[in-house]
């Protein structure tokens, strides 16, 4: 009994940081309607800045002073980010906002690497709170008790700020009706900056407060953002008490999980989330949120058509070139083309739901990695013949997408994006934690193709046939009745429902189809590399595809493929740069702000200016 109580206290103590970060995210969303994917980065900055300040400032006063200063510093950084990046895109479609915050993640990651180096930092112990207190005979770290005491104080302070001050009143008013607040003479720009700074400061404090229990490292940003999304989704977007309840729930559950089911801690919170969502789709204390005010992926394009004769000729010429490549190219080039094709198929499958379906998925890696793992597990554990295992990659990924899609399709906009991300984290945590089956981060190795394919040239042709076949199939479907129905649901869901289209079912089928195609790409990937690791399921993998689709252009059919080819090609030299994330992040932010139509879209528009007829002329 005493042990259980001690576990409960550990959970409560862990809730502090989670609640701080989640409440900041919630606050920012309530007023600005932007889900700040970079919120984990502010948490990480809080940890690093905190460590640095604690080293500089001595004693107990220095320790707590450092924590206080850290929040202020991170708040300032947040204000800077808001003024430089977000302020320009409040009127942009949701996808653009999310992608921009992802650009911020990359920039902060490399800046942190530059300033603090790649080494993990251990947090200093809190002065005077080093030992344990015994509660019912069980040792409980003193700092835990302090955290447990602090969390309600923070909740109260926030509550006071929100309910009793003019700023809080304006924040709540703006959460309900921003336009009206503006019409009453309040300059929203500064209100938004202030709220963003406050939310960032909360994340910074979260990062600094957890230092004595953890430390600072460069993976913190992604590690916490999944949990924070779970907390916010469970508690309800925009609700501070909701965030508090959910943070406590998740942390306590986690503490018990660590003690009794150590391989399931990460999975457990997603199970809770799924259960809450079935009962209350908008969280415990949340309200219904509508999709982005300015659309999810931008204004729909003009009618799309398959390529005219010139386009077809170009495509055929490219395919002939690729087919003839093994005759004269070096093996290195073949490998590169295999990589490009796999990534292009993966990106095209995301483009299918994102561009054609208007569904902003932030967890597409679940299906790529899911397919790869499905095939690899079959080979690794039961020595399934490669052909059969390979077939299972798209099948398993499709079934997985059907299941995840069933939860996510019911919600739209930012909820959809957050949920897909959270579910992909669930799949990742399975691969990462279920060591007896997946071998965790040791990965599954020696997954090689069948003998008749186990050479560069045959595998090259397999990849080319299936990869190009997959991409062309997706393109064909876009022009088929199903693709039209999918677009109808994106352009005007209301009109689509009013003409007999079951938009939810169409979207679910599309989601599963895209999942299966991503799984196919994953299958091709695993047998080309001979191994698979949890990294293939990470958030960064999902973002890679997203960025590629975005850079290529959401609204152009070739966007995904062009973007993927471009990225894979430049990746080789880009990743040789020490700070390539910084460069990429800045490029992303610049593209969001300067050329929102993406590379292909912008080129097309420029070409359209130069000559009146366009590439994709009607038939």
């Amino acid at each position: 009994m005493a042990f259980l109580f001690a576990l409960f206290l550990t959970g409560l103590a862990n809730a502090a940081a989670l609640f701080l970060v989640a409440s900041g995210l919630s606050l920012i969303f309530g007023v600005t309607r932007i889900v700040n994917f970079a919120h984990g980065s502010f948490y990480m900055l809080g940890a690093f800045i905190g460590v640095t300040l604690m080293e500089l400032l001595p004693g107990a006063v220095g320790f707590w002073g450092a924590i206080l200063l850290t929040g202020l510093a991170v708040g300032l950084i947040g204000a800077l980010v808001e003024i430089v990046v977000l302020r320009r895109i409040y009127r942009a479609p949701e996808l653009f906002q999310l992608v921009a915050t992802f650009g911020v993640i990359l920039v902060i990651q490399d800046l942190a690497l530059m300033i603090w180096g790649a080494e993990d930092r251990l947090g200093p112990r809190a002065p005077g709170l080093r030992g344990v207190w015994r509660i019912f005979g069980e040792p409980v770290p003193k700092f835990d008790i302090v955290l447990i005491a602090i969390t309600p104080v923070i909740l109260l302070a926030l509550w006071y700020l929100i309910t009793r001050t003019r700023l809080g009143i304006l924040v709540r008013a703006a959460t309900q009706d921003r336009e009206m607040v503006g019409a009453l003479g309040v300059n929203q720009a500064w209100l938004f900056t202030g709220v963003f700074a406050l939310g960032s400061a909360l994340a910074g404090w979260g990062g600094a407060l957890q230092l004595p229990k953890g430390g600072a490292n460069l993976l913190m940003d992604f590690n916490i953002i999944g949990a924070v999304f779970v907390v916010v989704v469970i508690g309800g977007m925009g609700s501070l008490p909701g965030a508090f309840i959910a943070a406590v729930l998740i942390s306590v559950l986690n503490a018990f999980g660590v003690a009794f089911l150590p391989e399931s801690t990460l999975v457990l919170m997603f199970v809770v989330m799924a259960a809450v969502l079935i009962l209350r789709p908008y969280g415990l204390l949340g309200r219904e949120e509508t999709a982005g005010e300015h659309g999810q992926v931008g204004a729909p394009e003009t009618p799309i058509r398959p390529y005219g004769p010139r386009g077809v000729a170009l495509t055929v010429a490219l395919l002939v070139l690729l087919a003839a490549l093994p005759a004269f190219a070096e093996p290195f080039l073949l490998t590169l083309v295999v990589d490009i094709t796999v990534f292009a198929l993966f990106a095209a499958s995301l483009h299918f739901i994102l561009g054609t379906g208007g569904m902003v998925s932030f967890g597409h890696a679940a299906f790529f990695g899911g397919g790869a793992y499905a095939a690899a597990l079959l080979v690794y554990h039961s020595e399934t013949p490669m052909e059969l295992a390979f077939l299972c990659a798209p099948l398993a990924a499709g079934v997985l997408a059907l299941g995840i899609g069933w939860f996510c399709i019911r919600l739209s906009g930012v909820y959809f994006a957050m949920l897909t991300l959270a579910f992909s984290q669930l799949v990742w945590s399975l691969a990462f934690q279920w060591r007896s089956v997946t071998r965790g981060d040791d990965g599954l190795i020696n997954i090689w193709p069948a003998d008749w394919l186990n050479a560069p040239m045959p595998y090259y042709y397999l990849t080319l046939a299936l990869g190009v076949g997959g991409i062309l199939t997706l393109r064909h479907i876009i022009h088929a009745p199903f693709g039209y129905a999918l677009r109808a649901g994106r352009d005007s869901p209301r009109q689509a429902e009013a003409m007999g289209i079951n938009v939810g079912r169409v979207q679910l089928v599309a989601f599963a189809l895209a999942g299966a195609m991503a799984g196919l790409a994953g299958g091709l990937f695993v047998f080309s590399k001979g191994s698979v690791f949890p990294t293939e399921l990470e958030i960064t993998k999902s973002f890679d595809a997203l960025i590629v689709v975005f850079l290529g252009g959401v609204k152009t059919l070739a966007g995904g493929v062009v973007g993927a080819s471009f990225m894979t090609s430049v990746e080789h030299w880009l990743t040789r740069l020490e700070y390539w994330r910084l460069v990429l992040g800045l490029v992303i932010i610049a593209v969001v702000i300067l050329m929102p139509e993406g590379i292909v879209g912008t080129l097309k528009r420029l070409a359209g200016r130069l000559r009146p007829s366009t590439e994709e002329a009607p038939r």
């Binding site: 729909p300 199903f482 039209y484 352009d491 009109q495 007999g500 079951n502």
Partner: protein, 256 residues
């Protein structure tokens, strides 16, 4: 004439506020009927309960005697009810003809087709429908470049594509120039006559209403205060009061 649509004591409340309070009426075959009323009278709420967009708090809706209360919009559409929206909801990423073809594909239950090229399906039928609203010369233009009045007519063609027996139109002329309004309603009246279908529409342009509606219903504060032909409605003192306000109430306010 037999009745095609009947609403029976429809009620809708939001947070204790009765937006629609016990409204009953019917629409008969071949009839062009208008639902009018001042802002906030409950027209949209009432209308959306007929189309399935909203579920009534109580009361029933019958289509040709069969209960359709609480059915989804897409189910009601499949029962042969077409509708248009106050703010047009066409598909901007499709051409004008494809917008109509989309409805035809849905009508022929081929939404889950993965093989065919969608723009080749039912094109002749779509062009016929576009001809009936005089849009056939713009069939291959992107929907996004159409003028507003043309979008409204395109919506009408879409609504007619599955040969409905009843058409529900929410403010069919909103946002159009006055002359275009008359043309638009004339078009609807012709369709009603030629195809023998029934139309229920909400409208704020009184010229349009009195020029074309066979019968007019007036809604005020969630209650139906008049239901009859143009002359009867025009002469109804309660209707006059709704539109012009009470006469004696404000004498003292001037002096205050």
């Amino acid at each position: 004439m037999t009745e095609i649509l009947r609403a029976d004591t429809l009620r809708k409340s939001y947070d204790g506020f009765l937006a629609v309070d016990g409204v009953s009426f019917s629409v008969r075959e071949g009839e062009l009927k208008a639902l009018i009323g001042p802002n906030g009278a409950g027209k949209s709420t009432c209308f959306n309960m007929l189309t399935g967009q909203l579920k009534p708090s109580s009361g029933e809706v019958f289509l040709r005697g069969a209960r359709i209360t609480g059915k989804r919009p897409r189910e009601i559409w499949r029962l042969g009810v077409g509708r248009t929206f106050q703010i047009t909801g066409t598909y901007a990423s499709m051409s004008v003809a494809e917008n109509v073809q989309m409805a035809l594909i849905s009508h022929h239950r081929r939404l889950f087709g993965f093989g065919a090229r969608a723009w080749k399906l039912y094109r002749a039928e779509a062009l016929d429908l576009l001809r009936s609203v005089a849009l056939d010369d713009q069939a291959d233009r992107p929907c996004s470049v159409l003028a507003y009045g043309d979008l409204k007519r395109l919506e009408l063609a879409i609504a007619l594509s599955h040969r409905p027996r009843l058409l529900l139109m929410d403010e069919p002329t909103a946002g159009m120039a006055p002359s275009a309004r008359i043309d638009m309603m004339q078009l609807v009246a012709d369709v009603v006559r030629d195809q023998g279908l029934s139309v229920l529409f909400t409208e704020h342009d009184m010229d349009v209403v009195f020029a074309h509606a066979h019968h007019i219903m007036v809604l005020n504060r969630g209650k139906l205060i008049a239901d009859g032909n143009a002359e009867a409605v025009r002469n109804d003192p309660r209707v006059q009061e709704v539109y012009l306000g009470g006469g004696t109430l404000f004498k003292e306010a001037r002096d205050a």
